[in-house]
Structures are given as C-alpha cells and as structure tokens.
C-alpha cells in the first residue's frame, strides 16, 4: 500500500482572512489601492515550501497520495530486520546442527511477526529435535547504518522416541546489532533459550545460549548470509555451530 504523505496546503482560515484583509483591505473597501498594495500584487510574496513546519494553531491539513513521494525502504536484513509493514521475507537456514525455515511478516515499520520451524536436518534429518515457534521481533533505528533488533519466540519441540514423541516447551530471547552498509551487513547476536519437558517431575527449565556473528548481502529481493556461533550450555562443553542463510522478500 502506498503511504500517505501529509501536505500542508492552507494556512489557518482566520489568520489567512486577517492577512488578506490587511493586504486587500483598501480594495475590499472600494477605495484606491495604495502604492504599496499595488506593488505587492505585482510582486507576489514567495509561498512557503510544503515541507516547512506548519504555522500557528488553527491551521488546516489536507492528506492524500503524493504521487511524487518515494518511500525510503530500509536495506533488507535477515538478522536485523525489519520487514516493512505488509511485507514478508521467507528464508531458509542450512546449518550444523540446526536448519530451518522462517517467515518474517511486517506488522508495522518496526515490528515483525516471526514464524519458524527447525530440525537437526544435516545431523539427524527429522529424527532428532523438530521445533515450531512463533513470536515477535522489533527493530531499532531501522533506517540507520547502525541497526538493532530484539526477538522473543515461544514454541514446541518434538522428539521422536521409541514409545511416543516427547514434547518440550521452548522460549527464546534474542538480541542482535550490526552495521548495515551498502554492500553488506555485519552483525552480532546473542540468544538465550529456555527448555522444559512436559512431565510433572524432572529437572524443570534448563537453558542454553548462542553467541555469534555473521554477514549478509542483499541482492535485489534476495538476501544471502553466513553466520558462525558458539552454542554454550551450563556445565557442558561449548560447541561451534554455523549456518548459511538465504531469504527472499515477497
């Protein structure tokens, strides 16, 4: 949808009326125009540009499509967002250990709906941990060179077992920040994930974390990226991970 541009067209009626009365006062009274007034008619005062701040109170605005208006679309980024309102970016992650599909849908210029699914595709195909998630992502300074985002998703992980499929509840919080340059985007991110089984007894919520850095390049509607990160788990050894990313703006 084309955004509406706000254009200031007319000044306040009262102010305009009094100004016109001052400028045209003698003519309106049927008297001869004063030399100064005749001069002002021959050399009209320059009109203020539309983009100038509106004058004093009592003014009137008219809104509508500005056919010359070109909205500034922020450079596309899978890691930092945002996806413009009404838009969507579908992306594919191929990585070790996790691979997945993701859709970022623009709810507002700074807020995205996130839908995600992943599995241990390269390691266990779909026999390992398969998860689906939904959440929100907000982006800070979406037009700037320095850009940041924060994301929160909630989901379920399904683990095929011998007897039945085990379910886990997963909550993930993520923050990312980076530099959006003309030819590439560089970013770093930090995630914390909480996991819990559905059984009544058990260890309760456990958590792990990811700390990584990556680079992206947008080519038209396509976005390609690569990322390396460390998977850290309390009390267990850290593991290096990676993923390749490809996205398409719809």
């Amino acid at each position: 949808m084309r955004p509406l541009a706000i254009i200031v067209v007319v000044a306040a009626l009262g102010a305009a009326g009094s100004a016109r009365a001052e400028r045209d006062g003698p003519s309106a009274a049927g008297t001869e125009p004063a030399p100064a007034a005749a001069l002002s008619q021959e050399e009209p005062q320059p009109q203020p540009p539309p983009s100038e701040p509106p004058p004093a109170s009592g003014e009137t605005y008219v809104t509508g499509d500005d056919r010359d208006f070109e909205p500034e679309v922020p450079a596309r980024s899978l890691a930092l967002g945002p996806v413009p309102r009404g838009g969507m970016i579908a992306s594919l992650d191929l990585g070790w250990l996790r691979s997945g599909l993701r859709a970022d849908i623009g709810l507002a210029s700074w807020l995205n709906l996130v839908l995600r699914a992943d599995s241990l595709l390269l390691y266990e195909r779909f026999g390992g941990q398969n998860g689906i998630y939904a959440g929100l992502r907000t982006s800070f300074t979406p037009q700037g060179t320095v850009r940041g985002s924060a994301e929160l998703t909630v989901g379920q992980i399904f683990v095929p077992a011998d007897v039945a499929t085990a379910n886990l509840t997963a909550i993930r919080g993520s923050v990312a920040a980076g530099l959006v340059l003309d030819w590439a985007t560089f970013y770093g991110r930090a995630d914390v994930r909480w996991l819990s089984g559905t059984q009544r007894a058990g260890p309760g919520w456990v958590h792990d974390a990811e700390l990584g850095a990556g680079v992206e390049r947008a080519i038209g509607r396509f976005i390609l990226g690569a990322e390396g990160f460390v998977w850290a788990r309390p009390g267990l050894s850290k593991l290096g991970q990676w993923r390749l990313r490809a996205g398409f703006a719809i």
Binding site: W96, L120, L122, D162, L168, V206, G228, L236
Partner: protein, 243 residues
C-alpha cells in the same frame, strides 16, 4: 574472477563440512574393583549379590579394605579390598567413620556387565554400613553404576531403603557420532517427597521416618543414546548415596 569465486566457494564448503563437529558425552565410571586376599572370586555365572562382614581400614579416600571376612561355609578368613576411581565424580570418598569400624558389605557382581563403551565392568555397585545399636549411629555408603538397554529409564533401583529411578529426559544432548546422547535425570523417592536430580546434582531427603539422619544422593551421570557405535551402551546411570 570466476576462478577465485569458485575457489572461495569450495573453501567455504570445506570449512563448513569440517565444522560438522560431533561430541560424545564424557563418562567416567566409578569402575569398582574388588580384590580378595585368597584365591576366591565373587564372579559367578550370572548376576549375584554377596553379603559379608569385616573390619574396615581406609587405605586411601577411595580404597577400603574389609579385613577378617569369614566365608559362609566356614574356612580361613580373608580380606576384601573395594576401590573406585577417585576422579569419577568430584570429591566422592568413603566416610572416615569406616576406618576401624565393623562393616557389613553388600556387593553386586555381574560377569557380563559392561561399561559405557562396552568395556568389562563386573561390579555394578555395593552398599556398606556400619553396625550400631541406634539408627543414628549407622553410617551407610552406596555406589551404583550400570549400563542398561532402552531409552525409557529404569524401574526402581533399590539400594537399601532408597528407591531410585532413572527417568528419560530430552532437553539436553550431545551430538555424538552415531546419534544424540540425551542426559537423563534421577527420581528419588523419600517418605513424603520426590526429588529430581540432574547430572552432577545432589539432594538430601528423609527415607525412613524414625531415622533422624537424612540421606544424600549424588547423581553423577545418566544418559541414553539414539544410535550407538560398536559396543557402546544404549543407556547408562551412575550415582552414589550415603547417610
């Protein structure tokens, strides 16, 4: 240049494939060893439990000699030395009260027993208690470890008054070469409470109401595999308890 681009792509692919790291769970069994001063053996044709008494002597924090053990059928007394690996889990050692005390030992033996990577492991556990008139005077110490089959945990493992089950869990795993290894937890039942212990955790609870002393259970490690290589065990548990 097309050549440099394809070289870069090949290098990236090689790095990516090289980064497909696997890692197995680090398991350090207690590896109970039993030595008799006579020529006898506690290993029979099948699993068995032996019970004997003697006088304790702490040779090292994890090495205990039980002297003056009298055979069931009569005969010359002999000594039994029970030891376990000191680095199995941090700080586990025999109670100092065992030194010089009259001890009763229950020893489990399994001639076909194996460890986490298929190595022979013939003594899956033991329980040692001091003799005393009052319950508060009795010290007890038990070590248990065993491989088992399946990924659904275990039935209750009874160690004296303790009732311990291994419960399968799916929240944490290691990406081992032949499939993920999931860390399991212990469920310990007390008088009026059930506690869950993850790997490395310890908890205490009351087992028998008249007994004023609380038991402490240390869960060293439990896991089950989704895929094995060679002689690897499907599942493993390892814990200790004392009061």
């Amino acid at each position: 240049m097309p050549g440099s681009r394809s070289s870069a792509a090949a290098l990236s692919l090689a790095l990516a494939l090289a980064a497909c790291q696997t890692r197995d769970v680090e398991t350090r069994p207690f590896h109970v060893e039993v030595a008799r001063s006579d020529a006898g053996s506690f290993l029979l044709d099948a699993r068995a439990a032996f019970r004997f008494t003697g006088t304790g002597a702490l040779l090292e924090p994890t090495v205990l000699r039980v002297a003056g053990v009298v055979p069931e059928g009569g005969g010359e007394p002999f000594d039994v030395t029970l030891s376990f690996r000191a680095d199995a889990t941090g700080g586990l050692a025999y109670p100092a009260q065992f030194d010089g005390a009259q001890l009763t030992v229950t020893l489990l033996s399994d001639p076909a027993g194996k460890g986490p990577v298929g190595e022979p492991l013939n003594y899956p556990g033991f329980r040692i208690e001091t003799t005393g008139v009052l319950a508060a005077d009795v010290r007890q110490f038990a070590v248990v470890e065993s491989a088992y089959e399946g990924e659904s945990g275990t039935d209750a493992i009874l160690v004296g008054p303790l009732e311990i089950r291994v419960r399968d869990d799916w929240t944490e795993f290691e990406p081992a070469e032949c499939g993920p290894v999931y860390y399991d937890f212990l469920e310990v039942t007390g008088d009026d409470e059930v506690i869950s212990l993850s790997r490395g955790e310890r908890g205490d609870l009351s087992i028998a109401a008249p007994d004023p002393e609380r038991w402490t259970v240390l869960h060293a490690l439990s896991w089950h595999r989704r895929g094995t290589c060679g002689n690897q065990a499907e599942a493993w548990t390892q814990f200790a308890a004392w009061r």
